[in-house]
Amino acid sequence: MARDTALRIDAVVASGLVKDFGTTRALDHLDLVVHTGEVHGFLGPNGAGKTTTIRILLGLLRASGGRVALLGGDPWRETAALHRRLAYVPGEVNLWPNLTGGEVIDLLAALRGGLVQSRRAELLDRFELDPTKQIRAYSKGNRQKVALVAAFASDVELYLLDEPTSGLDPLMETVFQDVVHAVRDRGRTVLLSSHILSEVEALCDRVTIIRNGRAAESGTFAELRHLTRTTVVVETARPPTGLASMTEVHDPSIDGHRAEFSVDTDDLNTVLERLVQYDVRSLTSTPPTLEELFLRHYGDQLERDTVLEAV
């Protein structure tokens, strides 16, 4: 019963999603839940399975196993009906080279069920896109803008964006973020797959980190931060001897009266109590950045790659 309610409320529910391409397993029991009305970040390195997931959500690929619901429906069976309620920006924008940008925007929106004329004009203006040029004459960034305008000019329930800003300059990145904020303010849902951590941090309510076809972590930033360690730099009147031997203290580097270490959020109190004994003069504590979260999940992969390269 609880699951049925969840299906109705959440824009995307995937559980135990498996996708095999021949003998390669692209998705390995992936879980992903996107609540309605949120901007959900979908983070992962190249080849982690982000695009495969989105293509399954679009009914372009058929899942080999697991359950998936999109806007309460089955993306493989009710493909076209669901597509009228969503807009998609592919990671690699492949369009018809001899149509103009304006024609492509109208075409894609019409196939989806229409667009809001005033918004089309506004978006063209904000993204500084010339709609009279042929697609072949656009740069990568401008082709991406065509896809973005085509998507955001339609008023739909769900926006699926697959690395939509990889070719945009910082100015256009800001415009993009404004547009996503506006969409969320209207109560729409956005699934944003991205490499750009600052973008995800600025836009997303919750994130799912995917790795080797599995969801490695999922939650709000606060929740994710909770799972990881805070960096503490402290200066004390007495040398903090014995600090390094505490099990709660990780990666300590102690230099006379100055110590730098990281500590699990749950252990902060214990460590602070001990620090007081050394007479604290100054203390800075830095919550983990998204980069650190990200690196923590991929760190061992990086190390393994380094080892491989060394071989």
Binding site: T51, N94, L111
Partner: protein, 545 residues
Amino acid sequence: MRILTAADFTGTRRLTRLAARRDRYTLPAWWAGLGLFVAGTTALFVRDLARYEDLVQETSLVATNAGMRLIGLTSGASVGGYMLHREYVTLAALAALMSTFAVIRHTRQNEELGRAEMLGSTVVGRYAGLAAGVLIAVAADVVLTVVLAGAIAVNGQPAEEALLAGASVGAVGLVWVGVAAVTCQLSSTTRGATGIAAGALGFAFALSGIGNMIGSVDRAGLTVTSAWPAWLSPIGWGQQTRPFDEAHWWPLLFAVAALGILLAIAVALAARRDVGRGLWPERRGRARASRALLSPAGLFWRLQRSAFIGWAVALTMFGLIFGSLTEQIQGLEGNAKDWWTQTGGTDQVVDAYQVSIIQMAGMFVAIYLVQILLRMRVDETGGTLESVLASGVTRTRWLWGHLVNAIAGCVVLMVLFAVSMGLTAGQVLGNPATQVRELVWAGAVQVPGILVVGAAVVAAICLVPRWSVPASWGVLLTTLVVGPMFGPGLNLPSWVQDLSPFTHSPKAPAVDVTATPVLALTAVCLGLAASALVALRRRNLALPA
């Protein structure tokens, strides 16, 4: 213009080797295809025109008819000469296209796809890319010359004349190496550059065709002396070598000179433009889509419109020519008459001729159909399908959008051909209205047979997507070879001939149309299409990574 230095060509060798490596299947496929085509048709004419009287009659037929002069130059009665009359323009055009594609593949396409930028940042000279494209294409034309000479010589034709015949084709290829080198400086896109080169080819064909058409025929009716426009065309230069008659090598010097001049122009133009840009400004288009574009069918029509128009013009022109040939056909005797009546299924030579020509038109339209339907595969692998299917279009509707265009295109092309053939045939026979009516009906009943080939292509795309391109062309080639045009001539057993849908297409207007074969062919189409649809709805799509 600045003097060229060796530094401008640094890295040419490496780039040429890269180009050769990239073309290691493409170019041999061109050589083999053209070589087999020439070997096959020469063998056919060697056999069919073994009697000298037949050769003379056929030659005088094509020399005295203005329409046939348009498509080839006649130069005395010889099997080799007759083969060149029939095939030279096709061969020259294909050689020109081979050269054009090769040059553009290694120059403009590299720039358009951004590869040239990466290569250009390494140690290569300004003109190294262009030089590599030109070298590889020139080499391709030289090999083609030798292959074609061999293909003619193995059929017992004199070796030196065969070499000249090969060179007359290769020379046109050489000129288009130069043409493409220039057009890829003018346009900033691969399509644009290819389009201008193809346009130049059409113009060259028109010049040589008109020059031959308005030329004069000698008293024996076997040799045509071309009028001056033919001498302005590279195709005309090749024809004027008259390999199996007077055998002149000197007209080929024009081709070599043209290549040199065009390359000089290309280098001069290349010095005046930026990498990635053309000399001609990019075209602007509409800021809003017209209503007609806003559906899958409308979109696909827009994308194939220009290809369709090209086919429509060509088929209309051929319809007019073949209709006017009725006059010469009426007077045929002997072997030449037997050839038509054998393939036409009636002893009335004009009827038999019309049956054959309508069926031949059907086979041409089948080529169009295969070419157009294979764009579905390009849609899928090129990534444009992803955007369409992600925006509320079902797979069925996408397929239907392609089918509507393909079927309507086939019908319109057949009708255009039939009407234009009926008009000129009717002028000869004095009953245009009847001719048009009968031929349009004859053309219409060919459509189910043509569509069987199309349905096979769609089934291949949906069932065996990875193999769909070779499978589709393979099916087309098989249906043509075992069908009524070549099957009887190759003495194939009847069950093999029955494999081709064209064997079952009604032999109208000579024979009354019966419903059974038309319905059976339609049923085969529907069966293939249904299996394709079922497969398409189930399978994964091969989207770009």
